[in-house]
Amino acid sequence: MILGYFSSQIANELGHQAKTMGFEEVEHTADRALRIFGINLQELLISAAQGMTGLMVPDVSGVSAEVEKSIELDAIDAESLLVEWLSELVYWAETEMLIFTRFSIQNVTATHLQAIIFGEKVSELEKHIKAVTYHNLKIIKTSQGLEATIVFDV
């Protein structure tokens, strides 16, 4: 079980706990899925990145921040921006075994993102993420901020 960190929790109409930030894994028959939370889009994107990284490398405590990359992405809406953002991390993990653990988002709107990400090359990944899907992807406003459920093809 992978759990993110949460500053507060309340029950809401979604049938689970709304949270301000973090992530949790949800059941999926064939693939892997994460529910992610953030008080705003910036935090939601960071939660998603941390959650997906946690699937690939469950213990990131030893991963340094020696590699730095600047990222700039455009998308048609916030859901697409989320998929683009995570797909960027999938690409670096697969082609160069680069895992990122620090995410500095400098500028974000629903359709544009500028960020600097920090991490390092690892020797092995526990889980290969083939792709980030749009399956039932919708960023929902909750009493605590934003949440979404993302399904990964593994």
Binding site: T29, A30, E126, K130, A131, T133, H135
Partner: protein, 483 residues
């Protein structure tokens, strides 16, 4: 959720959710099952996903699912959707991220007694020669511009480079390559992901397996295919690796804009699509074919590594260590095919996502060696359980656009499998049953435990009973190699 009272039973193994179930359905949704499989099918969202595909523009007759149906993303796994050309759609999500994931079956002239003294060594050498696991690159270095040749010519490229024989191509779906692939429609990122992975297995549910032909159900067909009881065979299950994953992802993202452009009303954004006749549809088709060719080439190079392994371990020790090809099939693909619809020959785009083409006897698309018996269908079981060789039938042509099942189908989530099953315990249990296991990851092994899957025998009985494939032979595993 779809409840039992929402669908009706049309035949012993065929069920239908009527078009009246949901306003946006264009056609009914049909699926194959028996009572036991039905219990599993209604517990996850797979029927909801099947019904969603029944809303796609241009869909003909019905949205279909094979008995190994289980929850995926967008399309259910086990789904078959045919759309009418020229305006019917093509959906990248309807093919899936692992474009041309498929199975290749090789066979030998050896029996279990002959191979037994060398089985452990053979499993070890296969694991060493066939790169597997997350992030493991291949041992084939491509020259500048060679990746473009791979994705243009598929397994033909590999044979030309010395990784197989012409006879392999004849016994591969599409002759080992799809014409019309366009490297220009494949992104640089996809090429980056694929360039170092030719001849690699990857991780997840992909594997190489040594099997014994356990039982033959149709002697004459088995003989024609080249299988007999007690014979050692080898299966390869893998696909287009990172290149295919990136191609699908690129086009699912690009196609999000098609929702507005073509006025699509979709219940799930993963179902994004474009008319096949549109520039976007044509671009995706050309890129999908390129990824499909990568997968054909990948399995061809892995077959070469397997032959090399047999040579290394068995040369001079057994009478004949030759490894020959039975067939190679795709189970994630969209293809333009002509089918009989209400008495007329109609051109369709048939999406098979976790479903296998199963053309019946006489189909012009089949190689001459198999044309009179129907297409061989390769159905891998879950790890440690049986696999099956079937052939396509007239029934599959009439009922399912020439399609049938592709495997066992999951019932348990990966998360739950890892929580309830220990990889090391599973390994001991399988080895106790005489199955050699060579795996890079114990947690990966646990995720693929047999208990996380449906009973493949039951799935096969349903397709056989429904007449959408015919049983030929059952294989039993003796060694499993995976990442």
């Amino acid at each position: 959720m779809v409840e039992i009272h929402d669908f009706e039973q049309l035949d012993k193994h065929l069920f239908e959710v009527p078009v009246s179930f949901r306003k946006d359905m264009r056609v009914p949704a049909r699926f194959y099952a028996d009572k036991e499989l039905l219990k599993g099918i209604i517990t996850d969202n797979s029927l909801q996903q099947l019904i969603n595909t029944a809303t796609l523009p241009g869909i003909v007759k019905y949205a279909l699912a094979m008995p190994d149906i289980h929850q995926g993303y967008g399309f259910p796994i086990g789904g078959v959707v045919a759309t009418k050309l020229p305006d019917g759609i093509i959906s990248p999500g309807g093919v899936g991220y692992d474009i041309n994931c498929g199975v290749r079956l090789l066979a030998t002239h050896l029996n279990q007694d002959e191979i037994k003294p060398y089985l452990e060594d053979l499993a070890t050498i296969l694991y060493s020669n066939c790169p597997s696991g997350v992030g493991k690159g291949g041992n084939i270095k491509l020259k500048t511009g060679e990746l473009e040749q791979v994705i243009t010519a598929g397994a033909k490229w590999a044979v030309k480079r010395g990784y197989g024989a012409e006879a392999d191509l004849e016994r591969t779906e599409e002759g080992g390559y799809m014409a019309g692939a366009d490297p220009e429609k494949v992104s640089q990122r996809a090429k980056d992901r694929g360039k170092g992975q030719i001849g690699t297995l990857g991780a997840g549910n992909h594997f190489i397996e040594l099997d014994v032909v356990h039982k033959v159900f149709d002697e004459s067909t088995a003989q024609r295919i080249g299988l007999s009881q007690g014979q050692i065979a080898v299966q390869i299950h893998c696909g287009s690796r990172g290149l295919g994953h990136q191609v699908c992802g690129d086009y699912v993202r690009r196609f999000q804009k098609m929702i507005a452009k073509y006025g699509l009303n979709l219940p799930d954004r993963e179902l994004v699509c474009a008319p096949l006749s549109s520039p976007e549809g044509q671009d995706y088709l050309a890129a999908m074919k390129a990824a499909a060719n990568y997968a054909f080439a990948n399995r061809q190079v892995l077959a070469f590594h397997i032959r090399r392994s047999f040579e290394q371990v068995l040369a001079g020790k057994v009478s004949n260590h030759h490894v020959f090809q039975i067939y190679d099939i795709a189970h994630n693909m969209a293809k333009v095919e002509t089918h009989q619809i209400d008495g007329k020959r109609v051109q369709l785009c048939v999406h098979r996502k976790g479903a296998t083409r199963a053309f019946g006897p006489g189909s012009a698309e089949l190689p001459s060696v198999y044309r009179d018996i129907g297409q061989p269908v390769l159905v891998p079981g879950s790890m440690g359980t049986a696999s099956w060789v079937l052939v396509g039938t007239e029934g599959s042509m009439a009922q399912t656009f020439g399609s049938t099942c592709h495997g066992a189908g999951r019932t348990m989530s990966r998360k739950k499998a890892k929580k309830t099953i220990r990889g090391s315990t599973l390994r001991e249990e399988l080895e106790g049953r005489g199955i050699q296991i060579r795996a890079g990851s114990m947690s990966g092994l646990a995720e693929e435990a047999p208990s996380a899957y449906k009973d493949v025998d039951r799935v096969v009985e349903v397709v056989h009973g429904a007449g959408i494939a015919k049983k030929v032979a059952k294989l039993r595993p003796i060694a499993v190699i995976k990442g």
